[in-house]
Symmetry: C2
Subunit: 762 residues, 2 copies
C-alpha cells in the first residue's frame, strides 16, 4: 500500500457538485511530483513565466560544515514534500529536471533576533528557516500559501511573467525582518556564486544582480525589488573575507550602507509590525539590467494589488489549459490531466524583458524582433512529445521557441542549435542534437512564423560540428566508437534519428540533396546493431563490437539513461527495419512482451537515475525518456491491441494525483506531455513525421481548440477502466485504420471517434 497524498474529499465533493466552466485551474495540483523523483515545484508562476516563485526546503550540496550532501540531486526544484522546514522563497526554478541550477534571490520573513544563516532542517532554530505543516499549505496555479510556524508568519506568493509578488502577514513584532539571501541557490556548489551587487536605491526599492558559475557557466540575473512600505533599517553581511577591502573600509557597510557587493552576501531589511500587518514585496527579474527589471516591475504590476495579480495569472492559466477541454470519468483523471497540462506549460520560459531585450550566448544584449525569446530547452527530453504538443496546441509559441533556438544558434560560438540551454548558456547536458527534430517536426507540420530554410541550414550546421560528442567519428565511420566517447551507442542512435528528422524537413522544403545525405545518415543505427545477439552494442574504432557487455545494466554499457533492452528499440525512424533486424515480428513481440514483464535484480533500481522504483514496469523504464515511444511499437506488428493495453497500464501506474504521483523526473514537461497525448489516444511516435500512432484514449471526450480557429474533438464511446481496447475508429464519421492519425487531418478540424471494448479486436 503506497503512502500517497490524495486530495481531500471535500474538494472532490465540491468538484462533483459542479463548478464554473473553464475554471480548469481547479484541477491543477502543483504539489503533484514534489515527493521523490518528480522534481516539480509547488510555487507560483504563470504559463511559461520567467519567474517561478516557490518555497525551497533545502538546496545545499554542502551543509554548513562544508560536508558534501549527496542528496542534492533531490533538490533540483528546491522543494521536497517530506521536508519539515522551509528555507525561504526563491524566484527561479526548473520543473522536473535531473541536473539543476537557479534558486535565485531567496526571500525569507522572520521575527525576533536577526539570523543571517539558514540553519539546518534538524535544528531550525539554528537559522532563519522555519518549520511548516502541509495542513497550512495551499498550492494553486499562480498562488502558493503556507504558514511559517516558527515565526507565525503567513506567506503568500503570486506572480506575473517577470515579477514575483510576495505577501507576508506578520504577528506584532518590534523586530521583524525580510531576509534577502544572495548566497542561496540550487545546486549550490562551492564557488558557484561569482559575484553579487546590490543597491538600496531608497527605503522601498532595492536593485542588483547575481552572477553564478553553475550548470550555466556564466549566468547573470538582475533584479528590482520593491517593498510595500519603507523599512526602518537594513544591512548585510559578506560571508567571504577578502584580502583586499579597498576604501569601502571607511564605511560601516553592515548597517544602512546602500551599496553591497561581493561573492557571499546576505542582506536584511528591518520592520516593526502590528499584529496582522502585511508586508508586500514585488521582485522583478531581468536577463539584462536592473533598469529593465524595474521597467518590468512597473509595467506588469503597477496599480494592481495582490489579488488582482493572482487572478490575472490564474485567468492566463485557465485560458492556456482550456486549449484542451476534456470530459473524464472521474475527478482524479481531470486532476491528472490538467496538472500534466500545467506542468507541460511551465517551460521553456520567457527570457526577455518587456522591451524585447535579452542576453545572448555571447553575453551581449540582443533585442527580440517580432518574437518572444524563450530559454530552458531540455531538448533531449522535450523533442519527443512536449514540442509536438506545442506544434498541436501552441504552434505560435512553438514557432517563437524555434526562433529563440535560431537566435541561440546565431549567437553560439559553435554555431550550434541548443543541446540543453538555459539563461544565455549552453550547458551541454545529455546527448544528440535534438533541436533538429523539434524544428523538423514544426517544418513537416507546416508551422509558420520562422524561416524554414534558415532553420534547416542551422540544423545542417549543428549536425556537422566535428568536435561535438563523437560527431567527427560518426561522420567518418557511421557510428560513435565506444573508445571515443561514452554512451557511444545511444549517441549514435540519437544522431541517426535526428538525421532522419532533418531529412524529412529537407524533403518538405524540396531540398533533395540534403534529404539524400541525411536519409543515408539516418541508417547509421545499423552500425551499432550486433546481429549476433540481436541488440545494439558498443562498437570500437576498429569495427569490432566490445566484448564486455551487459544487456541489463544502465551504466557503462554505451547507453545514456537506459540499457540495451530499452535503447535497442530506439529507431523511431525505421521501426520496420528494426523489427527485421531484430529477427522479425514474432521475436520482436516476444522481446517487447518480456520487456514489460521481466523481473530485474534490485541493483538495477539502485543504479538507475532519475526514476523511482515506481517508474519501472518490468524492465520498461517510463521514468526515463528513451522508452517513451516503446509502448506504441506494437502498432508496427500484428498486435496493436498490446499498444492499447500497455499505454493504459502506464497511464494508470505512472501518473497519480498524489505528491509522489510521478514515476520519474517530469523533465520540463516531457513526462506530462506523454500523459496528455496518450490520454487523448495518440502519440507523436517519430517527431519529424506528421503521423501520430493511435493508442487507447483514457478520457470520455476532449475538444482541442486550434489556433487556426478550428476545433478537433476526440469522442470516446464505451469508455471504462476495463474497456481499454479500440474496436473501431471513425474520422468525421468515416471508419479509418486503428493505428495512425495525421496531423493535417487534425488541422482540418472535425471529430475522431473511438469505440472502446473490453476485448482486443485481434
Amino acid at each position: 500500500m503506497k503512502n500517497r497524498f490524495y486530495l481531500c474529499s471535500l474538494v472532490i465533493l465540491l468538484a462533483q457538485a459542479g463548478v464554473a466552466q473553464d475554471q480548469w485551474i481547479q484541477y491543477v495540483n502543483p504539489l503533484i511530483g514534489t515527493r521523490k523523483m518528480g522534481h516539480t515545484f509547488p510555487g507560483a508562476t504563470v504559463p511559461f513565466g520567467a519567474v517561478q516563485l516557490s518555497p525551497d526546503t533545502d538546496t545545499l550540496p554542502y551543509d554548513v560544515n562544508g560536508t558534501y550532501n549527496a542528496g542534492v540531486y533531490k533538490y533540483c526544484a528546491g522543494y521536497q514534500y517530506d521536508d519539515p522546514t522551509i528555507v525561504g522563497f526563491s524566484h527561479t526554478h526548473f520543473s522536473g529536471t535531473g541536473h539543476s541550477d537557479l534558486g535565485d534571490f531567496l526571500i525569507m520573513p522572520t521575527t525576533g533576533a536577526l539570523q543571517l544563516n539558514p540553519g539546518t532542517a534538524a535544528d531550525p532554530g539554528s537559522g532563519y528557516r522555519s518549520r511548516f505543516r502541509h495542513a497550512t499549505e495551499t498550492a494553486e496555479p499562480n498562488y502558493y500559501k503556507v504558514r511559517l510556524d516558527d515565526n507565525n508568519i503567513l506567506a503568500e506568493l503570486t506572480t506575473t511573467t517577470r515579477v514575483g509578488v510576495h505577501r507576508y502577514t506578520f504577528p506584532q513584532s518590534d523586530d521583524a525582518h525580510i531576509i534577502l539571501d544572495l548566497m542561496h541557490g540550487i545546486y549550490n556548489y562551492a564557488d558557484k556564486n561569482v559575484w553579487t551587487f546590490v543597491r538600496v536605491e531608497n527605503d522601498t526599492l532595492i536593485t542588483g544582480f547575481k552572477q553564478t558559475n553553475g550548470w550555466a557557466r556564466t549566468r547573470t540575473v538582475y533584479f528590482a525589488m520593491v517593498f510595500s512600505r519603507p523599512f526602518r533599517s537594513y544591512g548585510f553581511t559578506n560571508f567571504k573575507n577578502y584580502p583586499y577591502k579597498g576604501f569601502y573600509k571607511r564605511f560601516d557597510q553592515t548597517k544602512n550602507f546602500p551599496e553591497m557587493a561581493g561573492e557571499q552576501i546576505r542582506a536584511h531589511f528591518d520592520f516593526k509590525t502590528n499584529a496582522g500587518e502585511q508586508i508586500g514585496i514585488r521582485f522583478a527579474l531581468s536577463p539584462v539590467s536592473t533598469g529593465n527589471a524595474l521597467e518590468n516591475l512597473l509595467a506588469e504590476t503597477s496599480g494592481q494589488d495582490f489579488e488582482m495579480i493572482r487572478k490575472k495569472g490564474q485567468d492566463q492559466w485557465n485560458k492556456e489549459l482550456g486549449r484542451i477541454r476534456i470530459e473524464a470519468q472521474d475527478r482524479e483523471s481531470l486532476v491528472n490531466f490538467y496538472t500534466a497540462l500545467y506542468h507541460a506549460f511551465l517551460s521553456p520560459t520567457v527570457y526577455m524583458d518587456g522591451n524585447g531585450e535579452y542576453k545572448g550566448l555571447d553575453q551581449n544584449v540582443h533585442k527580440a524582433s517580432g518574437f518572444t525569446n524563450y530559454t530552458t530547452f531540455s531538448l533531449w527530453d522535450t523533442y519527443r512529445a512536449l514540442h509536438p504538443l506545442f506544434s498541436l496546441v501552441q504552434p505560435r509559441r512553438n514557432s517563437d521557441m524555434i526562433r529563440s533556438m535560431l537566435a541561440h544558434q546565431q549567437q553560439s560560438v559553435h554555431k550550434m542549435l541548443p543541446v540543453w540551454s538555459h539563461y544565455a548558456n549552453e550547458n551541454w547536458c545529455m546527448s544528440g542534437y535534438h533541436s533538429v527534430p523539434v524544428i523538423a517536426d514544426a517544418i513537416v507540420k507546416g508551422l509558420t512564423g520562422f524561416d524554414a530554410n534558415q532553420a534547416l541550414d542551422a540544423c545542417i550546421q549543428t549536425a556537422n560540428v566535428g568536435y561535438y560528442d563523437g560527431l567527427e567519428a560518426y561522420l567518418q565511420k557511421g557510428y560513435v566508437p565506444d573508445d571515443v566517447r561514452p554512451n557511444s551507442v545511444s549517441t549514435t542512435m540519437e544522431y541517426a534519428f535526428d538525421d532522419w528528422s532533418l531529412a524529412q524537413a529537407a524533403k518538405k522544403l524540396g531540398r533533395m540533396d540534403v534529404y539524400e545525405t541525411f536519409m543515408k545518415r539516418s541508417q547509421n543505427w545499423k552500425n551499432v546493431f550486433d546481429a549476433s545477439i540481436g541488440y545494439m552494442r558498443p562498437r570500437l574504432s576498429d569495427g569490432t563490437f566490445r566484448k564486455a557487455f551487459d544487456l541489463l545494466s544502465t551504466h557503462g554499457q554505451g547507453f545514456i539513461e537506459g540499457n540495451a533492452w530499452n535503447f535497442s528499440l530506439f529507431v523511431p525512424q525505421d521501426p520496420e527495419g528494426m523489427i527485421r533486424a531484430m529477427g522479425g515480428e514474432k521475436r520482436f513481440v516476444s522481446h517487447l512482451d518480456s520487456l514489460f514483464t521481466m523481473h530485474l535484480p534490485d541493483l538495477f533500481f539502485e543504479e538507475t537515475e532519475d526514476i523511482t522504483r515506481d517508474g519501472i514496469i518490468g524492465n520498461y523504464v517510463h521514468g526515463n525518456e528513451p522508452s517513451h515511444h516503446v509502448a506504441y511499437l506494437y502498432n508496427f506488428t500484428g498486435q496493436p491491441w498490446k499498444t492499447q493495453e500497455r499505454v493504459r497500464m502506464i497511464l494508470k501506474k505512472q501518473y497519480q494525483p498524489a505528491v509522489d504521483g510521478l514515476g520519474g523526473n517530469d523533465d520540463c514537461g516531457q513526462m506530462s506531455a506523454w500523459y496528455i497525448f496518450s490520454t487523448l489516444g495518440f502519440y507523436p511516435f517519430a517527431p519529424g513525421s506528421e503521423d501520430y500512432q493511435l493508442g487507447s484514449p483514457a478520457i470520455k471526450k476532449a475538444v482541442l481548440t486550434l489556433e487556426n480557429g478550428k476545433t478537433f474533438t476526440i469522442d470516446v464511446k464505451n469508455q471504462g477502466a476495463r474497456n481499454v481496447y479500440v474496436s473501431k475508429v471513425l474520422l468525421n464519421g468515416q471508419p479509418v485504420n486503428k493505428r495512425t492519425l495525421k496531423h493535417s487531418d487534425i488541422l482540418k478540424g472535425g471529430i475522431i471517434q473511438f469505440i472502446m471494448a473490453a476485448r482486443p479486436a485481434k
Copy 2:
C-alpha cells in the same frame, strides 16, 4: 650626483638645429617619471584615450609562491625603469596614481616551448616574460618600441582612442605564440579576478570580457581582438580548479575549443613564422559589450595600417599640445613642459563606446547624449590645477568631464559626485568632495555646455551625505571630530574649502541663500585651529583638542598626505584670515620660510608616502598635493618676491627631463599641471575664484590658443636662470599689479608681459 637618464645629445643637437613647427611631440619623453615614484607609464596612448597600451615589468602583489610583495606600490603604472624584464603589454594604465588597478588583457609574444606562466624577473626563463634593454627601447606619444631579447621579437605599439594596435616582428619559428593573459592585472590581489569569458569567434577574431574586484569593486571590461593572420591552433589553461565542472567536461577544452570561461585563465594562439614576419593585433576595449568593442575596432582602425594609426594619434597629440606654444631658453625646458602637458592630457580618460554607450555606476548601460563620457577622476589631486588648466585650454572637454561627473552623481546610489572614480565605480580613495571645486571653478569661469544649476544642486546634495566620512559630525559641530574619523583635520579643512568654492558658484548663479549657507561652512577651518599653538590640530567630539600631537609626523596626526606644518596652510579660501589666525604676517612669513628651509629627521622621509626624498624641500612636500598652493602664499604678505623665488626653485628641483625626474606621483596630471601653470607664471590658487596668483614665468614666451578663437600671449623680458624676480607686469601694455591675473582678462585675448630681474622689487 644623481643617476639620471638624460636624453641623448644627438637629439638635443637636432632640436637646436630646428625642426618642423608644431611637432610638439618631439619634446615629449613618456619615460620621464618611470623610475621611482612618478608612476607614469611609457606606452602608447592618444590624448585622453581609453586605451593605454604599455609594457608591464611587474605587477603582482603576491609572487608565484603566494608571498605578499610589499613593493606592489611601485607598480601602480605597471612599469619600473630599473626592472630587467617585461612581462607583456597590457591595455589599461593609470598615469601617476598612488593606489592602482587596471593592467587589463596582457599580450605577450613568445617563441619556443609554450609557457603559460609569467615566471620571475630573477629567472626570466621560468616563464613567458623576456629580458629587455633600454638601448632597444623607444617611447613617443602614441608609439612604443622594444626588443624582447629572450625571443628576439621586436614589439611595437600604437593606439587609437579605444584600440590597442600591436606589431610583433618574429624570428623564424615553428613554435611562435601570442599569449593572452587574463589573470594578469595591476594591484592583482588574490581573488581580484572575478570572472573571465572568451570566445574564439573564428581564426582571427577573439572576443570576451574580464570582471575584477579591485580598487573598483565591480568592474567589467569587454574586448574584441583581431589578428592580422590566422593562427594555426590555440588553447587555454584555467589555473583555478573548480569542484563543479559541468558538462563542458565532455570536451578537451584546452585545445582548439572556442569557448573559455573561468576565474584564472591564460590563453595562447600558435603560429609558424618566417624570419622578419610580422603579426599584428588590434585589441579594442568597451565598457559595455564585446559587440561594441568590435564596432570600436572597425570604426577606428578599418583600412589603416600601423603607421597610419601611429601618425594619426601623433597628429592628435601635436594638435592638443599645440594649445600652448612656448619658447624656452633650452631644450630641457621644452621637454619638461611638453612632457608635463602630455601627462596632463592623459586623463580623465574616455569611457564610452563610439556609439555613445557606457556603463554607469548602477552597472547598467547608459548612452551619453551630447557629450563624451570620461572616467578616472583623481579629484583630490586634480581639482587643484589640472581641471583649472582644462578650464583654460580645454574648456569643452572640461565641460564634458563635468557632465560625466553629473551622470555619475545621478547614477550613484549615494547621489554623490565622484570622490575618486574609475570605470563605473566609486573607489572612495582620499577625502573631501572635490568634484565641487571642479564644478564651481567652471561655473565661476563661465564654462558652458552643462546645466550650471543642476550641477550646483549636485554639489549641494554631495555636501550633505551624512554617512560620508564624518560629514554628519561636520554639519553638526563644524568640524570632523578626531574620535569619529582619522584625518579629521585635513578632512575638515577640505570640506571647508570645497564649501567656499560651492558658495562662489552659488553667488555667480544668484542663489544667495546657498551662498550664505556655504560661506558660513567655509569658515569651519577655524574650528580645528588651535590658537594656543598656532597650528591646525585634531579636535575631539567634546570640543577639546587632542593632547597627543606631533607637528611633524605625517601619520596619525589628523592629516592625510601632510603634517601640521604643511596642512595648517590649507585655507586657500581665506589666506588673510589664516595669516591673522597664525599670528599676523611677520610670524606667518617666518613659518613659511622655515617650512622651506628646516631640516627633518630621516624618519619623516621613510613614513611619508607617494614621494621620493627629492620630493621634499625642507619640510615642504611638493610630491604631495596639499602644499601645491603654498609657494603662492607669500603673495598675500608684503613679500611676494618669495613666491617668485620659491616657485622657480620648485620648478627646477622637482621636475627634471629624466626617468626619475618627478619628485612624486604625477597623480593623473596634477603634478604636471602645477608645472605648466607655474612655468607660465600664474597659478589657480583657489579653484572657484577667477583670480590666478602670479609667480615667476620660466619660459621666454607662450601663446595660448583659446577655444573662443582668441589667443593670449605671455611674453617674458630678461628671462634667465637668475632673473627669477618680476619687476613689472603689463597687461596689453598697461601696468598691472604683480600678484594676480583674472581668468576673464585671459579670455579677452591679448598679451601679458613680465619684466624679469635678478633682484626682488621689494
